[in-house]
Amino acid sequence: MKILIIEDERALQESILKYLEHQGFICEAVSDFMKGKEKVRQFAYDCIVVDIGLPYGNGLDIIKELKYMESKAGIIIISAKNRLEDKLNGLDLGADDYLAKPFYLSELTARINAIIRRRNFEGNKVITFHEIKLEAEARRVTVNDKPIDLTDKEYQLLEYFIANQRRTLTKGAIAEHIWGDEYLHVSNFDFIYSHIKNLRKKLIDAGSEDYIKTEYRTGYRFTEG
């Protein structure tokens, strides 16, 4: 999977690159509009992460360019301007998603995964992690080909865990992924505990290995061994 990151803030670009590469993506990064345009013309990517405010140009114009080229790449806008107009503009132009800064790297990863899966019309849409298999379209989960019954939230949790496998995920990041930041208006993130407990129990009951590891006071990590 090839990802292009167009982001002018070097430090952030580096973080994204590092995290995505660790999750198995092949990444390239550029930091201005010209180079971004050049790259998208020369190479085909599976997903492009583009900032709106760039030196020498606007990220939205790169989206226009991609659409003009009839590119199949998924597009995620990342912007410091959490403005409704920007978001609507970007989505209108054909971007797949919009993420306001600051965002969790784990969230970006989950969204990239979702977009690539959605865009991958011909290819298979099944996500596997050892004995666990997720059929994204049908939202069906099997463990050793035995279907298990998950709630919506549990399904989202599992999908998120697999996208960010082997990484430490904080409770805040998990809560925000599944409940959006509206949960902040209602509660702290202790409530995710029961959902994770249930998911873990269902997976183990179905014969899966116990992949959900509790990290001391931090959060969770989905990993083998």
Partner: protein, 418 residues
């Protein structure tokens, strides 16, 4: 007091001495005229009397005549060449002004004093007349000025009124469209030119301010994003000690809070700048249903009983984003500050929206209710103290009234249209 009324008043006050002087002058002129005529009559009467005396004196008669109006008697006084004519006030109680001619004449060698008086009663009448005329003039002027005033203020001040109305209805975000036009009055042109200049400056400042606020808030998110991403990567390091992990987590949480705070302040600024204009009518009951679904899990977890009455709809003109924010904050608070197995009641009527919840928290002090960044110690963790400030601001700019009331551990908010 109106400017015109005041000017008129000054004008009328100034008119009083002027009219008095005019009256005095008028009286004098008339008086002189009357005197002149009296004098002519007196002299011709004297001449007639002298002629009569002379003809009678030839018969050797000596005259002594004393009537109020005519006295002729012999005297020792020296003979005068010319008659002296004076004003006198006569005798008795009714002081009627008289014109009096007196002369010592020689009639056949005898000196006679002749005094002829003529009543000048018309002078008294003249004073009254002149005063009356002046009074009429004054009243006439007064009435005329009132009418003029009205007409003038209707027509002459029209451009001023227009400008005033424009200023009154001016809204900051639409101030650029206002234009104070040319009139044919110099003063108003100066005023309007200044207003145009000021309007331009206000608009420019407003745009700058708006851009600055937005840019500042946005620019802040980028460095925060950088730090948060670095912290997230750092957390993946397996070699970190427990307290280091703890430090990373605490930094993350504080930075997240900062970022949310920034977002909320930005939202407040945008609401204040009226950047959420809309013509859409939204039914708050629908928004509430949406958030009840969204928060369903939290409601169930706290075992809250939610009683709703959506039999009416309460349509308000509100930007969808603000409607969301309003309900999210109110309902969110009702859940967050509730206790386990507590109650929430929501009632929507045709012209009001009511939400109440049970809570262990003491009532919010009225003065601190909608204040920004006023977090009580018991909810420092989950609140940035801007929720209610946002609610209040949304209500204020959208012509809604929000009231808070707490009794017996039940906190309620009521939204009504103004």
């Amino acid at each position: 007091m109106k400017l015109l009324t005041k000017t008129t008043l000054y004008f009328l006050i100034a008119l009083i001495p002027l009219l008095a002087v005019a009256g005095f002058y008028l009286f004098n002129q008339f008086s002189k005229e009357i005197n002149y005529r009296s004098d002519k009559e007196l002299i011709s009467a004297e001449i007639a009397w002298i002629r009569y005396l002379r003809s009678e004196a030839e018969n050797g008669t000596t005259f002594i005549l004393r009537t109020p109006d005519l006295s002729i008697f012999p005297t020792d006084a020296p003979i005068a060449e010319r008659p002296t004519i004076v004003n006198t006030n006569g005798y008795g109680i009714n002081e009627i002004p008289y014109r009096q001619l007196s002369q010592v004449v020689s009639i056949s060698g005898n000196a006679y004093q002749i005094i002829i008086r003529q009543s000048q009663e018309q002078k008294t009448a003249l004073v009254t007349d002149v005063t009356r005329i002046m009074l009429f003039v004054f009243i006439g002027l007064f009435v005329a000025t009132l009418i003029f005033n009205w007409v003038i203020s209707q027509r002459l001040w029209m451009p001023f009124r227009r400008s005033l109305n424009k200023i009154r209805s001016a809204e900051l975000q639409r101030i650029e469209a206002i234009h104070f036009e040319q009139t044919n009055i110099k003063e108003f042109n100066e005023l309007n030119a200044s207003l145009n200049y000021m309007k331009g400056k206000i608009h420019k400042d407003y745009v700058n301010m708006k851009e600055f606020t937005e840019n500042a808030a946005h620019e802040m998110q980028t460095p925060v994003a950088v730090v948060l991403s670095k912290l997230e990567l750092l957390l993946q390091d397996n070699n970190l000690k427990d307290e280091q992990v703890q430090a990373v987590l605490e930094s993350t949480s504080a930075l997240r809070q900062l970022s949310k705070l920034n977002e909320s302040l930005l939202l407040l600024a945008k609401i204040e700048n009226n950047q959420f204009e809309t013509t859409i009518e939204i039914n708050l009951a629908d928004i509430t249903k949406k958030y009840l679904r969204l928060f369903d899990e939290f409601i169930k977890e706290k075992q809250l009983t939610v009683q709703t009455d959506f039999s009416f709809s309460f349509p308000v003109k509100l930007h969808p984003l603000l409607a969301d924010s309003l309900i999210m904050n109110l309902l969110g608070n009702a859940i967050k500050y509730n206790y386990t197995a507590g109650k929430i009641e929501i009632a929507v009527s045709e012209n009001s929206y009511h939400i109440n919840n049970t809570s262990m928290l003491p009532p919010i002090q009225p003065g601190k209710l909608f204040m920004r960044l006023n977090t009580s110690d018991n909810n420092k963790q989950t609140s940035n103290g801007l929720g209610l400030a946002i609610v209040k601001k949304i209500a204020d700019v959208n012509h809604l009234h929000i009231a808070y009331h707490a009794e017996d551990g039940v906190h309620s908010f009521d939204i009504t249209k103004i």
